[in-house]
């Protein structure tokens, strides 16, 4: 067992070296009715890892809403699938590759893309898009820059080669990620509704066929150690072998798989990722209530002298398992040969419900050869659906911020810096900040167009992908609000869902469903588990309120560098449907003379905002509160108004608040505007506050009555901001909090914000490359 991470000694018995607790060792003996042998222990250790078993999170995930009219496949499958009409369905899922990327950013991120793509085509869907949600520490730190460059190279290098466009994602810098970056990748695929494949191994006597790359010592122990041990040991020799991705091999795998499915040759299909063959055979057998007899000697190897446990838990990339009737073998072999992919029969489906590992070969009828030895026999369900589950203890922290109840009057004293502060300067500071500046430096390293479906070339707001042969388009985004989640996990998770859905709604699309990646710390720490529990509660409540089923996701725990947990980070992926791509509305001012409006009420609370971070008030204020009913209303309103063709541009108010939303619409539309913003209290809240459930939209003057009626109909407050046009962004502050009155209460903000477009553009364009030291 030398390849596992902790050397086995008298002091450290095998099961602990494999990451299993004494309690788990007993549970295993209970499932087997005997003590497990070494090989069986290794198989349990990977399958009972947090990564594969969800032993800490499963009880929480069960509380999420998963039902919906359009849901074709939900949690439990390789990816969620939802109906989009015309016989088409969309498959989507998000997954983390945090720890592998921290060890080896390039390959870690690359194999993360490869893994999530396999989940998509394992459902029978052709992958059409990737989004990457990335989080790192201080951009000025050389280590961070190394990670950013490596991860971006890895994501791009893989996606660009397999021919799947990377159309969106996030890049966030926060000190809490310094020792533990987050690399979450979401993939989207298209599949005919009647061609969806299941990851099951039905029909005793059927063949288990492994195709794709040969099996090497890649990522041995990865599932049990790399993905779930607290990260920090820098000694390479102590780490499991890093998986290396081969995007070209993945491209062949995609084409061969889709041909096999199109020809109707597969009874079941499963990708091999974490825990390799052990996971593939046990999960498929368990789902079908069957067993699988594995022919160990038949598994093609890349290296000589591999131990049985290495072959069975290897995480070598670009491999798939197809379950097929024996008479289908020749056709499957021919397709693999045509694509230059090795394939081999590595086992048989049995009726006994066990995973049995045979050394010495199987006879033609699938029975073990005379003299063959059985190295392991484990009930499939003991490895998969009946893996151990823990009810962890969750305890809220001492210090804790809560959002004020909705409607609470604003108390915040104006926290803008010293007297005479020019709000324009603050706006430029925000636009040029690492988290709000243009992402072009990243997105230009990704092929965003391959497939010729990417509408608008990607880059502004949610990604839009037309569906060839229909009038429809899919709209996708990922969002996470770690800043607020750190203050209040329930609120932060709910806000993340609200913002992701809002980003989709402002294009005119109807959000279909949610996939999510829960990035948290050590679940055995009560405070950390409390964060997870609260976030899942917020996730569930928000999805219920917005009518969004959760169709899948992924949980990544133990995101901690020595001594520091990350800000808890639920990343939410939402896919939406636009029935007619001609209705698509962009977040860019469209025409001079259009009227700009703000839908939704502005609430107090600067906690967790980009402004608070800039002004150094990070934890000095409450986060804004979220009224889920108001959120649902404002999104329904904007969708209806867009469907009625009365909206010329729409953008949600997010990071940086109203001022940044207006600035972005101005930059992207190449035209400014003259606006007036009511300031009842603190100008900073009105301009830069990030209270949710707000949307800026524009309309032709003669469509205003219709829009007002729609707003009234939805009970959404709607105020006129001003007129689009001109070379500069001008925002006049009026009312209580502004100028005179503000001066009275010691306010310091000037009475108007005025910045030329060119200055906005310059700050926004150069913020990120400067922060990364790419430009001076």
């Amino acid at each position: 067992m030398s390849a596992t991470v902790v050397p086995v000694t008298a002091a450290v018995p095998l099961h602990r070296a494999l990451g299993l607790t004494d309690e788990e060792l007993e549970a295993i003996a209970g499932k087997l009715g005997r003590a497990a042998n070494d090989l069986e222990l290794a198989m349990f250790s990977v399958m009972w890892s947090e990564h594969c078993s969800y032993k800490s999170s499963r009880p929480l995930l069960r509380t999420l809403p998963t039902a919906g009219d359009d849901v074709v496949a939900g949690p439990g499958e390789n990816a969620g699938v939802m109906r989009i009409g015309d016989g088409w369905a969309v498959a989507f899922k998000i997954e983390s590759h945090n720890h592998p990327s921290a060890v080896e950013p390039d390959q870690g991120a690359a194999t993360g893309v490869g893994g999530i793509l396999r989940d998509i085509f394992a459902m029978g869907a052709r992958p059409i898009a990737v989004l990457d949600a990335l989080r790192f520490g201080d951009p000025a730190d050389p280590r961070t820059r190394h990670l950013v460059n490596g991860v971006v190279r890895g994501v791009g290098g893989y996606g660009n080669c397999v021919g799947v466009p990377t159309v969106g994602g996030e890049l966030v810098f926060d000190p809490s990620y310094q020792g533990n970056p987050l690399v979450n990748v979401m993939a989207i695929g298209l599949v005919r509704e009647d061609a969806i494949m299941r990851a099951a191994a039905p029909g005793p006597g059927n063949l288990v066929i492994l195709y794709g790359s040969a099996t090497g010592r890649d990522g041995i122990g990865g599932a049990s150690v790399l993905a779930s041990a607290t990260f920090g040991d820098q000694d390479p020799s102590k780490r499991p072998a890093v998986q290396v991705g081969d995007p070209f091999a993945e491209k062949l795998l995609i084409e061969a798989t889709l041909e096999i499915l199109a020809a109707g040759l597969a009874e079941g299909l499963q990708d091999l990722g974490a825990a390799g063959i052990t996971c593939g055979v046990s999960e498929t057998a368990d789902r079908a209530g069957t067993g699988i007899r594995v022919d160990l000697d038949a598994i093609p190897r890349r290296e000589p002298g591999m131990a049985p446990f290495e072959v069975l838990i290897s995480e070598s990339q670009e491999r798939m398992v197809v379950i097929a009737r024996p008479e289908r073998l020749p056709e499957i072999a021919a397709i693999c040969a045509r694509w230059g992919i090795p394939c081999a029969v590595i086992g048989r489906v049995t009726g006994d419900g066990d995973i049995s590992v045979i050394q010495g070969g199987l006879a033609a009828d699938g029975a073990p050869n005379p003299g063959a030895r059985e190295l392991a026999r484990i009930p499939a369900r003991a490895l998969a659906s009946e893996a151990i589950v823990f009810d962890r203890l969750g305890v809220p922290p001492q210090r804790r911020r809560r959002a004020p109840a909705p409607g609470t009057p604003e108390t915040t004293a104006d926290p803008l810096p010293e007297r005479g502060t020019d709000p324009g300067a603050v706006l430029l500071g925000l636009l040029g900040s690492p988290n709000l500046g243009s992402r072009a430096w990243v997105s230009e390293q990704y092929d965003r167009h391959v497939g010729t479906n990417t509408v608008g070339g990607a880059g502004h707001g949610a990604a839009v992908l037309r569906v060839k042969g229909t009038r429809r388009a899919l709209v996708a985004t990922t969002d996470g609000n770690e800043a607020v989640t750190a203050l209040d996990p329930y609120l932060g998770a709910a806000l993340s869902v609200a913002e992701a859905a809002r980003n989709v709604s402002v294009t005119g699309a109807r959000p279909l469903g949610v996939t999510n990646c829960l990035n948290f710390g050590d679940p055995t720490r009560p405070e950390s588990f409390w964060q997870l529990r609260e976030a899942v509660r917020g996730l569930g409540d928000a999805c219920r309120a917005l009518g969004l089923p959760v169709t899948g996701g992924n949980v990544s725990l133990y995101n901690e560098a020595p001594g520091s947990a990350i800000a808890p980070t639920p990343v939410i992926g939402v896919v939406g449907l636009l029935d007619d791509v001609d209705l698509l509305v962009a977040p860019a001012f469209a025409a001079d003379g259009d009227v700009a409006l703000l839908a939704g009420a502005t609430g107090p609370g600067l906690g967790g905002s980009a402004y608070a971070a800039l002004a150094g008030l990070a934890a000095a204020d409450d986060p804004p509160s979220l009224d889920l009913a108001a959120e649902a209303a404002v999104q329904a309103f904007v969708r209806d108004a867009i469907a009625a063709r009365t909206v010329t541009a729409a953008q949600d108010v997010g990071g940086g608040g109203l001022a940044v939303a207006l600035a972005e619409m101005a930059m992207w539309g190449g035209r400014g505007g003259r606006f007036r913003v009511a300031v009842p209290g603190a100008p900073a809240v009105a301009l830069f506050g990030e209270s949710p459930s707000r949307i800026v939209l524009t309309a032709r003057p003669d469509d205003l009555p219709a829009i007002r009626d729609a707003a009234v109909g939805h009970g959404v407050p709607l105020v006129e901001l001003g007129i689009v046009g001109g070379p500069r962004l001008f925002v006049e502050l009026v009312g209580e909090g502004a100028t005179g009155a503000a001066e009275g209460r010691g306010s310091s903000i000037a009475d108007a914000l005025e910045v030329p477009l060119a200055d906005l553009r310059h700050a926004w364009d150069h913020g990120l490359p400067r922060a990364l030291g790419e430009e001076v």
Binding site: N160, G163, H449, T452
Partner: protein
């Protein structure tokens, strides 16, 4: 009559279906040509699409030139057949010696994907005949190895013999020096595409097939693809005429 245009499919091609789709919009009947077959199926023109032919790990296009289909394409070209290489297809043609020069890693050492503006230096070729003289076309590039290189002498010959087909230019049509942002990869003399001396084989790094639909941002690429299809159509007639004799 249908103009049958072949689209070569290497295992790692990933723009083959996009290219076929765009060629269809340009009035052609696309025909997929599998890399292991040396039979061009009687097509009147061949397009080598973008992608990563055989993984392109060594040098983009290096391995592809040995495939059976490329032997057929070389013969086809030698016989005067029209061959267009887009992105990876351009790299393959250069490696195969069917086009002059080589494509090095981008000067930035990074993959670059963004819209560029290019200008056709000649509008009298089968690939550019439909482009208004001097017009500045907008279409995306997406590559890691697109820095056009040739020795000074070879570059001078190219310029003299009209071998430069496309140049990266700024919005105002001025050729972009290797360090300019308008020159995405550091190509010498802003060369974005070249054509062989016989005038029947051409390659360019930008993707016309990704600029073939207003919904996606630009239709300028259609000018290139339509030129090819029309030229191929014209030849198809003469060829069949020749065959009849």
């Amino acid at each position: 009559m249908n103009v049958r245009v072949g689209v070569v499919v290497f295992p790692g091609s990933n723009c083959d279906t996009d290219t076929a789709w765009a060629l269809q919009r340009a009035g052609a009947e696309p025909v997929a040509l599998w890399h292991e077959s040396a039979d061009l199926d009687g097509v009147t023109a061949v397009v080598l699409p973008g992608g990563f032919a055989y993984g392109d790990y060594l040098r983009a296009g290096a391995i592809a030139r040995f495939s059976p289909v490329m032997r057929a394409v070389a013969e086809f070209a030698a016989g005067g057949g029209l061959v267009l290489g887009i992105c990876n297809g351009f790299q393959v043609l250069a490696e195969a010696g069917l086009l002059p020069g080589a494509l090095l890693r981008n000067r930035s050492l990074r993959f670059i994907c963004r819209d560029v503006t290019i200008r056709a230096e000649r509008v009298d070729t089968p690939f550019t005949r439909g482009i208004p003289a001097g017009a500045v076309l907008r279409m995306p590039v997406a590559h890691g190895e697109g820095c056009y290189y040739a020795g000074e002498a070879m570059l001078d010959d190219l310029e003299r013999d009209g071998g430069v087909l496309f140049r990266y230019v700024d919005e105002d049509g001025r050729p972009a020096a290797p360090a300019d942002r308008a020159n995405p990869n550091g190509s010498l003399r802003a060369i974005a595409g070249v054509i062989n001396a016989a005038g029947n084989v051409a390659g360019l790094m930008p993707h016309p097939e990704r600029a073939a639909d207003a919904l996606l941002g630009s239709e300028d690429g259609m000018l290139v693809l339509r030129s090819l299809v029309e030229a191929a159509g014209a030849r198809a007639v003469t060829f069949s005429g020749a065959a009849a004799r």
